[in-house]
C-alpha cells in the first residue's frame, strides 16, 4: 500500500514538472538580466525586462484594448446567457430540444466562420474596430455560456422561487431577486470563462483589425516575436504579464469554473 502511495507521488511530481517547467522557466527568464547589462551585479530579481516592456508606448494601449474587448464580451454575453440559461432551466416550451445545438455549434470551426464574417463586418462598417472583435468573442462564447448558466440555475431548488412568487414576486422579479443572487458563483464562473477566452484569443482580432493601435495583447506578443526574435527577457516578461490575469482568476474561482466546464460537456 505504501509503495503504491510513493509511486503515485512520484507520478504527480513528474507531471507537475512537465506542467510547471515551461511556466517557471519563462518567469525565471523574464527576471534575469539581459545579456551584457550587469549580469554579475547583486540583485536577485532583475526587473529590466518589465521596465522595458512597460516603457513600450503601445504596450499600455494593447493592455487597454485587451481589457476593453474582454470586459465588453462579458457585458454582452452574460446578460444573454442569464436570460437564455434561465429560460432553458425553468421553462418547458415547444422547440426546447433545439438547445442541444448549443453544444454542437461550438464544435464547428470558428476559424471557418470568421472568413465570411470578414466580408459581413466590412459591409456593416465594423471592420477594423474593436466592436467587431467583441462581437466575435460574444458569438463564439455565448452557446457554451448559456449552457453553463442553464446548469447553475437548474441546480437551484425551484421551490425557493415558487415561494417568492406566492409572496407576490413576479416571475422576472424572482429571477432578479432570488435566482441570480443564488447562482452568483456560477455567473462569476461564466464571466471568467468568457474573460479567459476573450483575453487569450488573437484569431478574432487578427481577422477583424488591421490598425496597429487596435491590437490586443496576444496579437501584440506575436508582433514582438516577429520584431525582437530572441529578446527572451522582453518576450517572457510580456508573456508573464499576459498570463497573470487568467491564471489568477482561474485559481481564485476554479471550483465553480471546473464544475461549469464539466457540466457544459453534457456530463
Amino acid at each position: 500500500m505504501r509503495g503504491r502511495d510513493v509511486l503515485a507521488w512520484v507520478g504527480l511530481v513528474l507531471i507537475a514538472v512537465v506542467v510547471f517547467f515551461p511556466i517557471a522557466w519563462g518567469i525565471k527568464t523574464s527576471l534575469t538580466a539581459p545579456l551584457g547589462t550587469g549580469r554579475l551585479s547583486t540583485p536577485l530579481l532583475h526587473l529590466e525586462s518589465y521596465r522595458y516592456i512597460l516603457s513600450q508606448p503601445l504596450f499600455v494601449v494593447y493592455l487597454k484594448n485587451s481589457l476593453f474587448v474582454s470586459l465588453g464580451a462579458i457585458a454582452t454575453a452574460l446578460p444573454m446567457a442569464v436570460m437564455g440559461g434561465y429560460a432553458l432551466a425553468r421553462f418547458d416550451f415547444p422547440g426546447k430540444r433545439l438547445s442541444v445545438l448549443l453544444l454542437v455549434l461550438p464544435l464547428l470551426p470558428a476559424i471557418a466562420v470568421l472568413v465570411p464574417l470578414i466580408v459581413y463586418m466590412q459591409r456593416l462598417g465594423l471592420y477594423n474596430t474593436l466592436y467587431a472583435v467583441i462581437l466575435a468573442n460574444v458569438v463564439f462564447n455565448t452557446p457554451f455560456a448559456v449552457w453553463m448558466v442553464r446548469g447553475f440555475f437548474a441546480s437551484i431548488p425551484y421551490e425557493i422561487e415558487e415561494a417568492a412568487t406566492m409572496d407576490g414576486c413576479s416571475r422576472l422579479g424572482s429571477l432578479w431577486r432570488i435566482s441570480i443572487p443564488l447562482a452568483a458563483p456560477g455567473l462569476i464562473a461564466v464571466s471568467i470563462f468568457v474573460f479567459i477566452n476573450a483575453w487569450n484569443n488573437y484569431l478574432y482580432a487578427f481577422a477583424f483589425t488591421t490598425s496597429p493601435d487596435l491590437a490586443v495583447l496576444p496579437q501584440a506578443l506575436l508582433r514582438f516575436l516577429g520584431a525582437w526574435g530572441t529578446n527572451y527577457g522582453g518576450l517572457t516578461a510580456a508573456a508573464t504579464l499576459a498570463l497573470l490575469p487568467p491564471a489568477l482568476f482561474f485559481l481564485l474561482f476554479q471550483k465553480w469554473f471546473v464544475m461549469g466546464m464539466v457540466a457544459g460537456t453534457g456530463k
Binding site: 502511495d5 507520478g11 504527480l12 507531471i15 507537475a16 506542467v19 510547471f20 511556466i23 522557466w25 519563462g26 444573454m80 446567457a81 436570460m83 437564455g84 429560460a87 432553458l88 421553462f91 416550451f93 415547444p94 455549434l105 470551426p109 470558428a110 476559424i111 471557418a112 466562420v113 472568413v115 465570411p116 470578414i118 466580408v119 459581413y120 466590412q122 462581437l135 458569438v139 463564439f140 455565448t142 452557446p143 487569450n200 484569443n201 484569431l203 487578427f206 481577422a207 496576444p218 496579437q219 506578443l221 506575436l222 516575436l225 527572451y232 518576450l235 517572457t236 508573456a239 499576459a242 487568467p246 491564471a247 482561474f250 485559481l251 476554479q254 471546473v258 466546464m261 464539466v262 456530463k267
Partner: protein
C-alpha cells in the same frame, strides 16, 4: 366562473411560452445572424471569388479544384493528420494517468487537479513563447540538456522532424488538462464498492483497471478524445504562433493555411473552401465518434 378560469389559463400559457421565448431571443438572434448564417454562407463564398470591397464572381468548384491540384494543400491535410495523431498519442495517456493520480485518495492530490489545469487556460501565443524560450538553440534549457546528453545541437524549429515534434508536444501540453478533467470526473463517479468486490474476486491492480476503471470511464474518454480531435484539427493559433507553418510548409496544418489565406492575403474564396473542408472533417469526426460510442453501448 368557467370563462375567467379559461382566460386565466390562456394568460398562464401565454406567459409560460412568451417569457422563455423572449428571454432566449437575444441569444438566438445573435447566434443565427453571426454564427449560423456565416456558417451556411461559407459554402456560398467557397464557390466564388470575393475581392474585399468589390463584387464577387461565381467560379464554381474552381477553388476546390485549385486546392486539390496543389501539393501544398495535400501536405496541409497530411500535416493536420500527423499533428492530430501525435497530440492524441501523447496527451491521452498522460491525461489518463494524471486523472487517476489526482482522483486518488492521497492527501493533497486534489490540489494537483487544480494546478494541472494551468496549461489549458494559458493563451496559445503565451505558451508558444514559453516553448520557444525552452528550445532556443543557444539559451534554451531543453537544447542545452540534449546537447549535454548527446553532444548534438537540436535545432527544434528549424529541422522538419523536430518542428513537427515541437508543435505536437506544445499542443499536447495545452490539451491534456482538459482531457484529465473529463476523465477524472468519470473516475470520481465510480463507486468504491466495485473495487472492493473486484478485490474479493482476486483481481489485481491491472485487472481492476481493465475490467472496472476503463469500461466505466469509456464515455468520458470518448468525449475527451472527440473534443480534442476536433479542436486540434481546427487549431491555427497554437501552430502559427510557434512555427508559422514552417520550416517550409512542414507544419502548415489546414488551420494555419486557412489563417494565412483568409486573414493575411484576404483570399476569401480559397479560405472559405478550406473552411468547408474543415467543417466537413469536423462533422465526419463527430459522426464517427458518436457511432463508436453507440456501437460500444449496444454490445
Amino acid at each position: 366562473m368557467p370563462s375567467s378560469r379559461s382566460s386565466r389559463k390562456g394568460l398562464y400559457l401565454l406567459s409560460r411560452y412568451r417569457l422563455p421565448y423572449l428571454l432566449l431571443l437575444p441569444a438566438v438572434v445573435v447566434l443565427v445572424v453571426f454564427l449560423a448564417w456565416p456558417l451556411g454562407s461559407i459554402f456560398y463564398f467557397s464557390l466564388r471569388e470575393t475581392p474585399l470591397g468589390g463584387a464577387s464572381i461565381f467560379v464554381g468548384l474552381d477553388n476546390f479544384a485549385l486546392l486539390l491540384s496543389e501539393n501544398r494543400f495535400l501536405n496541409n491535410l497530411a500535416a493536420s493528420l500527423r499533428y492530430l495523431v501525435g497530440v492524441l498519442a501523447l496527451s491521452v495517456p498522460l491525461a489518463y494517468l494524471a486523472a487517476i493520480l489526482v482522483s486518488s485518495r492521497l492527501r493533497g492530490a486534489g490540489i494537483f487537479r487544480t494546478v494541472f489545469m494551468l496549461p489549458w487556460i494559458i493563451a496559445p501565443v503565451v505558451s508558444s513563447i514559453l516553448f520557444r524560450t525552452m528550445v532556443d538553440p543557444y539559451s534554451g534549457p531543453i537544447t542545452a540538456a540534449l546537447e549535454w546528453l548527446t553532444g548534438e545541437k537540436f535545432l527544434f524549429l528549424v529541422k522538419p522532424d523536430l518542428a513537427v515534434l515541437s508543435i505536437v508536444v506544445h499542443s499536447a501540453w495545452r490539451s491534456f488538462p482538459f482531457e484529465m478533467l473529463l476523465i477524472a470526473a468519470g473516475l470520481t463517479a465510480i463507486s468504491p464498492e466495485l473495487y472492493d468486490s473486484a478485490k474479493v474476486d482476486g483481481a489485481g491492480a491491472w485487472s481492476q483497471f481493465r475490467y472496472v476503471t476503463l469500461p466505466l470511464t469509456r464515455n468520458q474518454l470518448f468525449v475527451a478524445v472527440l473534443l480534442i480531435t476536433i479542436w486540434t484539427l481546427q487549431d491555427a493559433e497554437g501552430v502559427y504562433s510557434l512555427t508559422q507553418g514552417g520550416p517550409g510548409y512542414v507544419t502548415e496544418v489546414a488551420g494555419v493555411r486557412l489563417f494565412k489565406e483568409a486573414f493575411i492575403y484576404f483570399n476569401i474564396g480559397i479560405g472559405s473552401a478550406i473552411g468547408v473542408v474543415l467543417i466537413l472533417l469536423s462533422i465526419l469526426f463527430m459522426i464517427l465518434y458518436l457511432r463508436v460510442i453507440g456501437a460500444g453501448e449496444s454490445q
